[in-house]
Amino acid sequence: MQPGDKSIHNTHPYGIRITQDLTIPKLFFEKARQYGSGRVAMREKEFGIWQPITWHDYFKNVKYLTLGLICLGLEEGDKVAMIGDNRPEGLWAEMAALCARGVGVWLFQDCLIDEVKYIIDHSDTKFLFGEGQEEVDKAISIINECPKLEKIIWDDPKGMRGYDQDCLISFKEVQRLGRELEDERPGLFEDLIQKGHGDDVALLFYTSGTTSLPKGALLSHNNMLTMGQHLMTVDPCIPTDDYASYLPFAWIGEQMMSISCGLQVGYTINFPEEPETAEENIREIGPHVMFAPPRMYEQMTRTVQVKYLDATWIKRKFYELSSKIGYHVADLKFQKKQIPAYWKFLNWLTYITIQKKIKDHLGLSRVRNAYTGGAAMGPDHFRFFHALGVNLKQIYGQTEVAGISVVHRSGDIKFDTVGHPIPETKIKIAEDGEILTQSPSVFLGYYKNPEATRETLKDGWLYSGDKGFIDDDGHLVVFDRTKDVFTLRDGKPFSPQYLETRLKFSPFVKDSWVIGDKREYITAVICIDYAVTGKWADEKKLNYTSYQELSQMREIYDLVEKQILKANKDLPEAARVVKFINLYKEFDADDDELTRTRKLRRGFVEKRYQDIVEALYSDSQDVHIDTTIKYEDGREAHIVTDLHIRKVKA
């Protein structure tokens, strides 16, 4: 880099010095030159075979795409949006947008049209990369309402033969334009990359918005790169590692792993064949590092629990024994106690006989570090993975800090905390208990929202809106979102999230919603897991025809009550669930009940299910529901039912 540059960081194990001048494209250029065609940058499973893409291929594809975008009229600072499944083309598009000095905007694959319209319009997107027909259809239907949107670029030709709109252009065609421009003006691509500066905006990232419309966080190249470097200083990865990319790119955690860390380390990014095959494909890859929100781990736990219930008697006994040993050893580790030799031996025995197989089935056999973040994870899930011998760590982070700020260190894991800050990151607790962060990765501000920026960035500190404290060991404990913290009847604060995650440890419970802020007692609304509970009901020879009917059965209420009693046991009197109700449907992001990252939108559900809340705090035994629900395909169903309220045994 240029002499005289103000270096803000020291040299990193991978030999990358992050200066104010370094950008993601510059690093990409460097890595592609270093690795060339000798190393695989990414793999995609296609037609049943893992197809490798070398750094050289990656570079060529990005280069021509970049030049193609320039040909189409992309100028500095123009927004380029991307929507689609995780696939190499998505990453190429993002990289090309950055190389062309544009700004990348990611949308969730399952965004409804209104959400797509809001983000495209608000971000002033000029080019939109859609995967195939589905995304193109979405884009065409909104193009008239988004005046800045000029071109829609698609890469999967399936079903696209009848489309001839002028606003459409294929990925290949853009690359062909790029090749032509390369012949005309050789060296343009390299010039573009050299022009970049670390403080330039790289990504415009829309936060999931549990309360209001999504806000667009502006992240610079420097934000992203320092983030990756700091995480990799804590838990280094090596270039021969494998990483599986299957979570939405519109989630900051995936960006952090695929771009911030991936580019610096140069590990191989693996894309599954289809979202439905992800689980199977991850098992084939056996990634070395994993970062997923709690729901992924919850799903894995549920898989194991359900398989356990299905297994033969002898297998169940073996599993019970092995998990007893696993839990004991994990607890010793949590307490930082020496593990006696015979326990070590027993643990090894369970590893070779049982744990190894389970880990293999979950795709965890090679995982060195597994991270969970983005929402709270219950202690039961957390202990479950440690008992299996998986080095699962909590992280704490947010979009506004380009990923994470706090993480557990190996050997210093407490399941109720999120660990210590990563290098060059300071964490402070404000007087009212709010968690404040200071680091080079703190974002530049919200796009077109100076008011929100002022509220969030004060005196160089990032105000998270989360409540927490630092415990005696210096670990950060995240309590809950400030606005979500309950005041119990005895005046003590309480985190509903904590209770909700405890309830979700039951394989029969998919989602839970705890109510009771400033009220006499705590209540819960439960969404049962249709597949698991349905199977249980089949075995018990219970007849049901729909989710709604199943959820209201007495036997299912008993089942849920058991889990609630379990969770109640460890809680102070005032925080125990007194009444609960099984909802007639699952919570759904399409109904605005959850965010796209599956966080409960408390304010919204409170309004929507007002009748239920009222009934839970009255003497009534039932709630009458008369409502219309809308299915994904647009059909509507009229639901009239009575939901039963169950009082939990004291």
Binding site: F47, G48, K158, R161, E274
Partner: protein, 271 residues
């Protein structure tokens, strides 16, 4: 032979076909012309003889009277497997898949007709047989599994799959034959709305896509889909042809309305 040299684009022709089962006349004097590249639907109430008609085209039955002409050749006496070799493939009203075999194996079966290596070469899996198998697998993966979006069930036994997916696998097997004429016998029966949309999309794809361009005979009760997809519609009622025309002509035909379309309660239309 009643081939018409002026109309070489006729792929299949039924000429005055009669079919009796004992004294029951299942088809009496049916004339049908299916042109290359079209989706030709056959509709009619239950028991009208639609499936009999398909079985005649496919070679499961042979008509007592009349001719079946495929590519200007009379194929009345040709056995089913020989007709398959000529490029006629079909799916069944009730799925006829091999439940214990995987999806891939079921589709591979449809490819069998294109296998050239014999018993001797096949018993040693090297050279020609191996190359041939790889070629066929490539075709199945790139053209069929990708088209029908069944990557996630590739290695699953078909018997364990839900009905909608079994129907897809059956279509996949029919496609593996690389047919020129595909008979789809009620491909949408028993599917939910989403599956119907998917299946309709696949039918359009195989009919319109440059790689396939398959002529389809579609037997179906779902009028919405029939009217949307078809180039021509053939209406059958108790073995007699009522009309063979464009969807508009059929919809406005008084007898069709009386015999079929009017009975809203019996045949759900999804329009």
């Amino acid at each position: 032979m009643s081939t018409n040299p002026k109309k070489p684009d006729v792929l299949l022709e039924l000429d005055d076909v009669h079919m009796f089962f004992g004294k029951v006349c299942a088809l009496s004097g049916v004339d049908l012309k299916v042109r290359k590249g079209e989706i030709h639907s056959v509709i009619g109430p239950n028991g009208a003889g639609k499936t009999v008609m398909m079985n005649i085209i496919n070679g499961l039955y042979s008509p007592q009277k009349g001719n079946i002409i495929y590519k200007q050749k009379k194929i009345n006496s040709l056995r089913s497997y020989k007709r398959a070799k000529l490029g006629i493939s079909r799916t069944f009203q009730k799925v006829e898949v091999f439940g214990g075999m995987t999806v891939l194996d079921n589709i591979r079966l449809g490819r069998h007709i294109h296998m050239k290596s014999g018993i001797a070469a096949g018993s040693v899996y090297i050279g020609k047989t191996a190359r041939e198998e790889i070629e066929h697998r490539r075709f199945i993966e790139e053209q069929i599994i990708d088209l029908l979006e069944i990557e996630f069930i590739r290695h699953k036994p078909v018997g364990m799959l839900p009905y909608g997916l079994q129907k897809r696998v059956e279509l996949g097997r029919a496609l593996a034959l690389e047919p020129e004429l595909l008979i789809l016998d009620e491909p949408l029966a028993g599917l939910n709305l989403e599956e119907v949309e998917d299946m309709a999309r696949f039918v359009l794809d195989i009919n319109e896509d440059e790689k396939w361009q398959i002529t389809c005979i579609l037997v179906e009760h779902d009028m919405g889909v029939v009217m949307d997809l078809s180039d021509r519609v053939f209406v059958l009622n108790f073995g007699n042809m009522i009309i063979d025309g464009t969807p508009e002509e059929v919809q406005n035909h008084p007898e069709v309305i009386k015999a079929y379309l009017g009975e809203e309660d019996m045949y759900a239309t999804r329009r």
